[in-house]
């Protein structure tokens, strides 16, 4: 057990938590405003690919990261147009975009890197060399900003209102469409940033590297009861579970069991400890103006 409490283990856990936390905070913005963003999985993947491509061509990880964010925003924009402007079903749109993202990343990977399974090696972030991981710092700052934005600012108040009772917000002259767009676009940016971290951490893009993290991020947000701090706590829990998985890989326990841990945890926590979660009342419901 002692080896668990080392600095390395803690850093590893935090490192693993990052790609859960960023999309999870993104999901808070989107769902507080009333839009279910299951497209986060595809956003994460597109972000990773765009970041790898951007870094590969410019050699600059900051430009690469910006590309990742932009890719996330583009997918989120499509999701917004489809679900907010055209009021299509949010789950269907999300699933469609995820499938699209999987295809399109494979397609461009083949074109840009000559292989549909992975990119060439790119410069990345050597977390072990740095006393402080810049992404980790960024995560803490973003978590603080998110908490503050949701609870203390005008935008946060309006976001909560349009997710809970859009008609009430509309009757007070608030543009439900505008506020919801902003929420989904922010979630796209954060998802894209999370994807960029995946690529930079691995020094390459590999096909399908989001590996369900977007879905787990959504689950974490639900476990965290749609609150940024709660979501962060749940993400840390998943990070911890995955960190154990790595730690116990050679312990003699069949690895399949250990790899199940994060998913079993999701189900247990959702069913047993949290009980009935209360989403924003208008979450998932397109707003139809009367008249």
């Amino acid at each position: 057990m002692e080896e668990l409490l080392t600095i390395t283990f803690v850093l590893q856990t935090l490192r693993i938590t990052i790609p859960y936390l960023l999309p999870s905070l993104g999901a808070v913005y989107s769902e507080k405003g009333g839009v279910v963003n299951i497209a986060l999985e595809g956003i994460l993947l597109s972000g990773a690919f765009a970041a790898a491509a951007g870094t590969f061509y410019t050699g600059n990880i900051i430009v690469g990261t910006a590309c990742g964010i932009l890719a996330g925003i583009i997918i989120a924009l499509i999701h917004s147009i489809v679900t907010i402007t055209f009021k299509a079903n949010q789950i269907v749109s999300g699933i469609a975009l995820n499938i699209l993202a999987f295809g399109i990343t494979k397609f461009f990977c083949k074109i840009l890197f000559g292989s549909s399974s992975n990119s060439e090696r790119i410069p990345g972030i050597e977390t072990l060399d740095l006393p402080f991981n810049p992404f980790l710092l960024l995560c803490v700052i973003i978590l603080g900003i998110t908490y503050f934005t949701i609870n203390k600012t005008r935008f946060g108040l309006r976001l909560r209102a349009v997710g809970e009772n859009p008609q009430a917000a509309d009757s007070l002259g608030i543009s439900v469409t505008k506020v919801r767009y902003l929420g989904v676009l922010i979630s796209g940016a954060l998802g894209g940033l999370g994807g960029a971290w995946l690529a930079l951490d691995q020094h390459s893009y590999t096909d399908g590297m989001s590996a369900g993290r977007g879905y787990i991020a959504l689950a974490a947000m639900i476990i965290g009861k749609w609150n940024p701090m709660g979501a962060a706590g749940a993400c840390l829990l998943f990070g911890l579970a995955e960190s154990f998985t790595l730690q116990f890989q050679d312990s003699g326990i069949p690895t399949q069991f250990i790899q199940m841990l994060p998913y079993v945890l999701t189900i247990i926590v959702l069913a047993g400890f949290i009980g009935k979660a209360n989403p924003p009342a208008a979450d998932g419901v397109p707003y139809e103006k009367k008249d």
């Binding site: 005008r154 909560r160 809970e164 002259g173």
Partner: protein, 503 residues
């Protein structure tokens, strides 16, 4: 254009499909007065006010605010012109605090668009003081009573410096005491120079508080008068277009024999808390028992238990025999869209619901279309359902006609016990009257009826006895011949009686 007019609307027309909701309506509202707009449901009152508030856009017509022509495209425009509206269904975000709801959309912000809570609170407190309203600003809105939520709506308008306040059916959901308090507030507002537009269909209230009255019927103005120059009968004539005689009170008196005995029944709410506590009463043959109570005092849970929709402890004895979980009961539910009808079904299918297995309508494999059709047409005729088309989707019917469909189906079940919740909520006078006559007819046949309603007038008119529920218990069992709305109201609020179980 004299500027003592706060609002003038000229030639307002608005159509929804084939329906002319407003047909060249002209109306003038004098500044600093309480002006009532009355009419049946569907007469166009709400449409007209929604146009004034920018929720709807008129097909034609002009609006003048304080003598100046105004173009109102959205509620935001209306708010800028000093117009505010309290909707029939409150526009509140239940999870936010009272303060957050009040400032929403017009927040006082500091650096970084942060909400300046201290200054917001000061601003709101100032309004509360000016208009003598008392309310806790940090409470979560969804936990407060309907009366308090309505106050929040009014404060929201005052916070936005509204000079013209529109209230859509404000008293529909209030107890008489809460109504008194509301009217007191409205009088204070008037004294401060505000103009108030009151949409309602309760004539007594109109006569009590307003100075001017405009009557709408089928989208047209049929009356425009000062309140002091008119009376109830004249107004009723304008509302209904010709004379209309309401049905008489109940004629038959109940028999000695019990239809239903409720003995020590307890029921829990959705949250698992005790909602009905060890409650007992009897329903006689031919009796209508009214159940009054502020919403959330166990009426809903009691009804669900009787109808087999909710678990309970205690026992029901039907016609002298202990009944198991499924009492044979006809049920007209409070929320007909949720529990009474399937909106995507047509009339015939809705009439069939729950009887699809009976030999009369089923071959065992398929539905006997012809028999169903003939049966539906009989019911359509008997209950005067319009339009009289068995194939029509029920969503296309008016609320009154939908309710007739529910009543038609339930009454044809031929059960001894009928349970009815808010049967006339949202119905106009004629449709409500029809539903009342159906209930009285069934009662005369010797059936037992339990009637839950928030309309005390309805309870007094139909019931033999009125059970007032408070805190899960019957706080008083009143004889409707000798009681009145005020007495019922004070038992509803727990001001009289044992006050139920305070815990």
């Amino acid at each position: 254009m004299t500027n003592h007019l706060a609002v003038e609307m000229k030639g307002i027309t608005k159509t929804f499909g084939d329906l002319r909701a407003n047909d060249s309506v002209d109306i003038k509202i004098t500044k600093g007065t309480i002006h009532a707009i009355i009419g049946e449901n569907g007469a166009g009152k709400s449409t007209l006010m929604n146009i004034l508030y920018g929720m709807y856009h008129p097909d034609s017509g002009t609006i003048y605010i304080n003598g100046n022509e105004a173009v109102i495209h959205s509620p935001a425009d209306a708010i800028k012109l000093g117009i505010g509206m309290v909707h029939q269904h409150f526009m509140l975000v239940n999870t936010l605090t009272v303060l957050e709801n009040i400032i929403l959309g017009d927040e006082v912000t500091g650096a970084l668009n942060t909400i300046d809570k201290r200054r917001s609170r000061q601003k709101v407190k100032q309004i509360l003081n000016n208009f003598d309203i008392n309310i806790g600003l940090e409470e979560i809105t969804g936990t407060l009573s309907i009366g308090t939520q309505q106050k929040i709506e009014i404060i929201k308008l005052l916070y936005r410096n509204a000079e013209i306040l529109i209230l859509d059916e404000p008293t529909a959901v209030l107890t008489p005491q809460e109504t008194d308090e509301l009217f007191k507030t409205l009088k204070v507002l008037k004294a401060e120079g505000k103009t108030i537009l009151l949409i309602t269909h309760k004539l007594n209230e109109v006569l009590g508080i307003s100075e001017f009255i405009t009557v709408l019927r089928n989208g047209k103005v049929t009356g425009n008068t000062e309140t002091k120059d008119t009376d109830k009968d004249q107004l009723a004539g304008m509302i209904l277009g010709g004379s209309f005689e309401s049905i008489k009170r109940k004629q038959n008196s109940p028999a000695e024999e019990f239809i239903l005995e409720i003995i020590g029944v307890s029921v829990r709410s959705d949250k698992g808390l005790p909602a009905v506590k060890d409650l007992s009463f009897e329903v006689h043959r031919g009796e209508i028992i009214g159940i009054a109570g502020v919403e959330g005092n166990g009426q809903h849970e009691l009804i669900e238990a009787i109808c087999g929709l909710r678990d309970y402890s205690g026992s029901f004895i039907l016609n002298g025999k202990p009944a198991d979980k499924d009492l044979p009961v006809a049920h007209i539910p409070a929320n007909r869209h949720k529990h009474g009808i399937v909106m995507e079904y047509n009339l015939a299918e809705n009439v069939l619901l729950g009887r699809e297995g009976e030999a009369e309508f089923s071959t065992g494999v398929s539905i006997k279309e012809k028999a169903l059709r003939a049966y539906t047409e009989r019911l359509i005729k008997k209950y005067d359902i319009r339009p009289a088309e068995a194939d029509l989707l029920i969503g296309g019917l008016s609320g009154g006609n939908q309710q007739k469909v529910v009543a038609a189906r339930e009454m044809s079940k031929h059960t001894d016990l009928i349970v009815v919740s808010h049967p006339t909520r949202g119905l106009d006078i004629k449709a409500a009257d029809f539903v009342h006559s159906v209930l009285l007819e069934e009662s005369a046949k010797g059936k037992g009826i339990i009637l839950v309603s928030s309309d005390l007038g309805e309870l007094l008119k139909l019931s033999d006895r009125i059970a007032v529920m408070f805190n899960g218990k019957i706080n008083a069992m009143l004889d409707s011949a000798t009681t009145n709305e005020r007495e019922i109201g004070s038992y509803m609020l727990g001001l009289s009686g044992s006050g139920g179980d305070k815990g």
